[in-house]
């Protein structure tokens, strides 16, 4: 953060919430389901305000997600933000990986492990916590597969807000310790993420939690908009253009829909040229409900019971699955699914060729990229961006059996010689 950056306060372009199912409109309230049809609500904008936004205005902003405040529902006034100031993470040119995969159109990795708590969740939590403060909530909370837990607890610590984090009790040790270290309330639930999510939606209705914003539940419409910033950044970092293809991991499916939405907004506003793009989704074989719906031509997603190492993607009942399918089909994309061995190989391939150490979700994305090229579903002659949404240090367990020292020696040249490192 450069303190001298431009901090002019623009008006929020958000004008209300709208039901994605029936189109009913509401004010800027703390609800995520439509009172008419129970469909999901999302933020509705004044498109004249969005269209007035310019590249120069964005470029004059800080080096974090808040440079896009003129395109976001909350946070225009810096004093209103509850945020670790994530974003502007590296877009890494991956020439060596491209060469291995036979991808000639240019390959980039958008590396969100560089965010403050090392996942893309800092983007959505910054939006949710800022909205929560604006709506008068006193506390924040979440159900999480780990990365969201880390981010909510860290945001609460920075702001001095109480928080309540609910996670499955079998999460990776790194994610548990990182959630716990911020000194917030951390509740282990003996069950799957879907069980945790169901439980928190009941807890949110109790009197004790009336003053608590559940970031991915009652303030979900604001939360979800944070993911648009990944799309904005990719376009800006490419020199204000949209890549031909993008591969995005899917848990709830929300991130994929919001990257697509970001690019529709940028083209509508004339900030980038209106070039075509294709959106590909990535899932693990242990949790593939959106992949299955895609393969079968279904509009709805049939819930599954997840398993496997890509725990951050293990949402068996993905709230935004149908909308992710819409974006993938509208742009001519596809969905790939990969098993645990391929996921580990994806992590190793990415690390070995780019120096980026991804968590299992990143391994899913890279392995799916390889699969989509092999299947002929992704065009290797077109420029492609893959998203790494989290940090390898959080998911060491599946790597410990497959990587380690290549040599072990005593501290003597004799021992180094015996190990074959010198003649």
């Amino acid at each position: 953060m450069t303190l001298t950056a431009n901090t002019t306060v623009v008006p929020s372009p958000a004008k209300g919430l709208v039901c994605r199912n029936c189109g009913a409109t509401f004010g800027l309230i703390a609800e995520h389901a439509c009172a008419e049809c129970f469909g999901p609500l999302e933020v509705d904008y004044d498109y004249d305000l969005l269209k007035a936004v310019t590249r120069e205005q964005i470029e004059a902003g800080p080096q974090n997600i808040w440079r896009y405040a003129p395109l976001l529902p909350v946070g225009q006034d810096p004093a209103s933000r509850v945020s670790l100031n994530p974003g502007m993470t590296p877009l890494v040119r991956a020439d060596r990986l491209a060469e291995e995969l036979g991808l000639t159109g240019g390959l980039w990795v958008k590396d969100d492990s560089a965010n403050p708590t090392h996942s893309f969740k800092d983007r959505v939590v910054s939006l949710a916590a800022t909205a929560a403060k604006g709506l008068g909530y006193q506390k924040i909370a979440c159900a999480s597969t780990g990365n969201l837990a880390n981010s909510v607890a860290a945001h609460a610590a920075r702001a001095g807000l109480p928080s309540f984090v609910f996670i499955p009790s079998d999460l990776e040790p790194g994610k548990v310790v990182q959630s716990a270290v911020y000194g917030q309330t951390l509740v282990a639930v003996d069950g799957s993420y879907d069980d945790v999510n169901r439980l928190t939606s009941e807890i949110a209705e109790t009197d004790e939690f009336e003053d608590t914003a559940f970031v991915n539940q009652n303030v979900r419409p604001y939360y979800a908009e944070g993911s648009k910033t990944m799309g904005y950044e990719i376009a800006e970092q490419l020199g204000w253009r949209i890549p031909a293809q993008v591969v995005i991991p899917m848990a709830s499916g929300s991130l994929l829909t919001k990257v697509d939405k970001a690019w529709r907004e940028l083209t509508a506003a004339g900030i980038v040229a209106d070039t075509p793009w294709t959106v590909f989704g990535a899932q693990s074989a242990g949790c593939d409900p959106i992949a299955t719906a895609f393969d079968n031509g279904w509009d709805v997603v049939k819930p599954v019971k997840p398993f496997g190492i890509a725990k951050s993607l293990n949402i068996g009942n993905p709230a935004d699955g149908p909308y992710a399918l819409d974006a993938i089909r509208r742009t001519g994309g596809a969905v790939g699914r990969v098993g645990d061995d391929e996921i580990v190989q994806g992590i190793l391939d990415l690390a070995r060729t780019t120096g980026v150490f991804a968590e299992t979700a990143g391994g899913v994305t890279v392995a799916v990229l390889r699969q989509l090229i092999a299947d002929g579903r992704l065009d290797p002659t077109q420029e492609t961006v893959v998203l790494n949404t989290g940090e390898g240090l959080k998911t060491l367990d599946p790597l410990e059996p497959v990587v380690g020292f290549t040599h072990r020696v005593e501290p003597s040249l004799k021992s180094v010689r015996a190990a074959g490192l010198i003649g």
Copy 2:
């Protein structure tokens, strides 16, 4: 990285190497010890070129360490860089920690866990690897306590260079896996860091390693200059001024000397006002040779055998100890040392109040800040910056016994009620 950033190539201001002991001068060669007196060599600059550098020139550069290329020995031409493009890490305002500590002058945390491999070592490796390439080396290598290992292996992976990383065999699992995942040669040495360092200086002399740059040995003068960028960034992020006080962890002592050097350069060049600053050093009680020398008024540092949890600081024979002592004494500073329990408490205090999760070295720094205030050696009415040089996810072991779930429940409201979370 914004691809549209200014990439004008300026000349290197480096004119040679100079012995810090006897003042003998050399060309820009691959040596770290003086041929006359065996004293340490450092980069010597054309100070007229340094003085011509302006704020505007720096601000037009990319959002990483290379914006300071006009002040660095190598890397002026973007095509010459071997780099993960680290730097411009957050300077976090720590009001809640300041309040707990009774520090009224303003407190900031410079958080280098945001670098690509999550420690400040990416800064020095980017300089060393770029210098190595320019000097014609084909491979890079290092002796490391872990963070340097991660960074060398990741830089090598990105660039497609072979690398050889030597680490003590008892390092933290996170650092071992992160070093191994990049697919480079990783050698475990059964001994202390000082043993590893001695071994690699012997290996560097063998025929097999003639074409290998040992980043912290034969190209150490270039490597060490990378640490100046932390000093430059702090000044720039404060709006181009130098803080009154800074607390810096010490292993070899090099980082501390280079932050001080950076500020001397900025004031000499007129880029910032020449206001006084005081430099404080932080060590663990398990490895306190510089603290002991400071307490006893010694000019030389007596080696120790390190122990304790702050492994990244466990250098018992610190090469830059005497120069660190010079900077601390010249500016009226002091050195603190803290035990393992205080280090863990420092990590928890920082996380709870700022949302920054530091590795043990960061815990050392925060605990020493507390101690220096309590002892009356650091002025709580003056603006202070503390450096977090690494990532908490790399050193989970000492936290696992002290943090965890606050509650554990079944996925039912009844169980949540029994746990006391609702009435």
